[in-house]
């Protein structure tokens, strides 16, 4: 999700479309909400034209902390994926 957000701010549905089926509509906002609570992403309401009706949509972007956590996770994943002989 952080990879998908790195390029630009996106809506939740854009993330669902860009994830090629890995993210679901029903769970994407719950996941994003939990990530925001942990400080991995930040969000803001979209700029709306005057007179627009309905609830405002929300745009998400990764935080610097979130990107650091992602990089650390990548390092850990790669280290764990190494065979013991390669790790030496």
């Amino acid at each position: 999700m952080l990879d998908l957000l790195e390029a630009s701010e996106r809506y939740g549905l854009e993330l669902v479309d860009a994830s090629a089926g890995r993210l679901k509509r029903g769970s994407v906002y719950v996941t994003l909400g939990r990530m925001e609570a942990k400080g991995f992403v930040a969000s803001r309401q979209e700029d709306r034209a005057p007179g627009a009706i309905g609830l405002p949509r929300r745009l998400y972007r990764p935080t610097a902390y979130g990107l650091k956590v992602r990089d650390a996770y990548r390092l850990l994943r790669d280290a764990l994926a190494l065979k013991p002989a390669e790790a030496k």
Binding site: Y11, G12, L13, K24, R25, G26, S27, Y29, V30, L32, G33, R34, E36, A37, S43, I53, G54, L55, P56, R57, R58
Partner: protein, 144 residues
């Protein structure tokens, strides 16, 4: 505007932040896309999933917050349980005489322990309700 009733229910049942971060965007997508037919049903399903996910998130957070008041909850539960246990002994037909003489035959211990567990569970529920983080009680203002 479709989804207004969902927004009202969500606004009423969820915390403000949870509603804004987890449910409101899902409803906003639904209103933005204004789907029809099968797609509309899929959107409703997604909103309900988001709602129950948000509700679970809220309840877990509330339970964690309850642990901060665990001392007061324990005392309140003990007071209630003692009161109702005393009433149980008085009015259940067990009689104070059998308890006083420690005549604990005929499965009395098992029954007494079972009753006490039920009493403690109910008292714990009511005590927890007293300390449960507040929810809104008035009609929310949802903009159209």
């Amino acid at each position: 505007m479709p989804g207004r009733w969902l927004a009202r229910i969500g606004h009423r049942m969820l915390h403000t932040d949870t509603f804004a971060l987890m449910l409101s965007p899902a409803i906003a997508d639904f209103q933005f896309e204004a789907p029809t037919g099968m797609s509309r049903a899929c959107h409703y399903f997604a909103i309900f999933r988001a709602f129950f996910g948000a509700l679970r998130f809220d309840i877990c957070g509330d339970l964690l917050r309850l642990t901060e008041d665990i001392g007061a909850i324990s005392v309140l539960t003990a007071i209630q349980a003692s009161y109702y246990a005393f009433m149980l002994v008085l009015f259940s037909g067990l009689g104070t005489e059998r308890v006083a003489t420690l005549d604990l035959g005929d499965g009395l211990v098992t029954r007494t322990v079972s009753y006490m567990l039920v009493i403690c569970a109910v008292c714990l529920l009511t005590s927890s309700a007293c300390f449960w983080p507040p929810r809104r009680t008035c009609q929310p203002q949802i903009e159209d």
